[in-house]
Amino acid sequence: MRRSLLVVVGSGGVGKTTLAAAIGLASARRGHDTLVMTFDPSLRLKDSLGVGDEARAQEVEVAAGTRGRLCASLLDARQTFDRLVQRYAPDPAARDRILANRFYDHLSGSLAGVLEYMAVERLFEVAREGRYDRVVLDTPPTRQALDFLEAPQRIVDFLDSGARRIALKPWFDEHGRLRGASRLGLIGRNIEAFLDRIVGLELLRDMAEFFQAFGPLYEGFRTRAAEVQSLLRAPGTGFILVAGPGEEHVPDTMFFARKLGEAGLRLGPVVVNRVHPKELGSVDGEDEAARLLRWLAERDRRGLAALRSLLAGRHRLVEVPLLPEEPADFASLGDLAGLLDVLLDGS
């Protein structure tokens, strides 16, 4: 069965973005209209795909000369957030109040998970429009394996939490002064005392304003978060796990694989990237350089072997060699696409 959504996951710095681009290219070569959604590609990769900052606002077509169309977009949390607010705010005044709120300013830039959440939001928009046969989603560099998948739920929890309820309380009277009384009972009073003493009133005021302005958008957020969760578990969705070479990356990789399984997400192939080729193992010479090259080749063999035995045939293992240069032009992306084409054969 053809996958309509491929999500490329793995820890930071293993080459997810490059591989996502190459998988997109392979898909377009097969004649499928494909969109690659990426985070933070390198300058050279952007250049060679002909993708500039305009791709933050909309999808850009890549002149790849493939049978299917290849498009790319860059994910940008702040911009997606702004767009959502613009689209769903009930009136221009409410929109302006949110966009100008200091708390929003910081929230959209640094609330844990916002970037991830926005990725999923954008993905959802694209999926609904249905203009592509296949979407390849790169994921942001996160530490905690599946942050970005859990982000929608976290945000809903945050909005659901007492933080919102408390912030929505009429804290301030019409003169902008704090109201004394609280109707939240003992716990509420303690929290108030805490917030008041620790963070001061200004933050409270900003938060209250923010949540009040944000109120009308809230139901929409909630519904979409649930829909996105089911999109990620739909039969047409598959996950590709990218791993670093070498034994030390194995625990990380297995951690990811386990987490995906626990979350009910479908893990397909595991790609081990930047593997030092076997030939290095037979470099002669006793100088330092020769010893290092042999060691690197051995280290990466050990890593592959360990991973192979742990995965025990449950997932296809695809090995991508370290290339002489970072693949950033069509020729070298094309070579990679050739290696990765197997990922598109159902799973």
Binding site: S11, G12, G13, S42, L43, R44, R102, H106, L107, S110, L111, A112, P141, T142, R143, R154, D157, F158, S161, G162, A163, L186, I187, N190, I191, A193, F194, L195, R197, I198, V199, G200, E202, L203, D206, G244, E247, E248, H276, P277, E279, L280, G281, S282, V283, D287, E288, A289, R291, L292, L293, R294, L296, A297, R299, L322, P324, E325, E326, A328
Partner: protein, 315 residues
Amino acid sequence: MKAGRADGKPVGSLLEELGRRQLLVVTGKGGVGKSVVAATLGRLLAQRGRRVLLLEVDPRESLHQLLGVDPSGGEVVEAGGGLSLQNLPPRRVLDDVVREHLRLAPLVRRVLNSPVYHHFVDGAPGLKELAVLGHVQRLVQGWGGRRRGHTDLVVLDAPATGHSVSLLAAPRVTAGVIPHGPFGHMATELAELVADPVRCGVVAVTLAEEMPVQETLELLDLLRGRLSRDPQLVVVNGLYPRLAPRRQGASRRNGVELAVRRRRVNDAELARLREHWRGPLAELPMLPLDRGRELVSALAPLLEEALADRVEGRP
């Protein structure tokens, strides 16, 4: 930068100069070798008589492996030779602030158990980063040391979440959002600490590859733009070896050709970095050693040599 001066300013090696600070923040993209460099710097400075605490902020502890000691589990662990290690859960620091300010045990319990507090701590911008820096400040001012001795210098292995400048910019951001109250005051003080090159040093670690160098150049810009400061040192780690010139007529095997070309990428990226960064730069080779004590022991003399240049001290 080189050579001593006779105008009365203290003169020492770059390493000694780094060691005069209260805090060294070791920062860089994920996986470039921050922890290895932090551990190596910590060792070297401890050898020079400074009492150094290596502070790790990562729920998945790993720094202890590089020192050959047990995981810290939040406590300070002695690693010998004047060096100690602590893995710091930022939440714990924030919880301590709550304890200090609310005092009454039942009140404290209620706040700490409340979901509102959890979401606040997770959601408020920069608060966790602030907690980490606040802890550092207490350590170097000697408040945090109930059972432990005084710490001269904290080497902070900065977490690789988000952009590496976010930790350093956090106090400013927080001071902007929370202008008053204890967190607000703490933020303001810490913003001063972080901006002060006499007390706080920044060490940027990178690989000589496109993406890490790109991020390092962005870091340099952000440091200048947001904090009006430069790092004290850029460490370029994991360099491929320069291969001995080919003997006449001998042909190279495939694999060797790969290494030659990777080194060429390294050299090109080093050149690009040097174009934008004229300050101190240390190069470290990739070594055939697994992550562990031996790697740190092998890198230590190399880093020491790279930092042996004499520099003019700060007044």
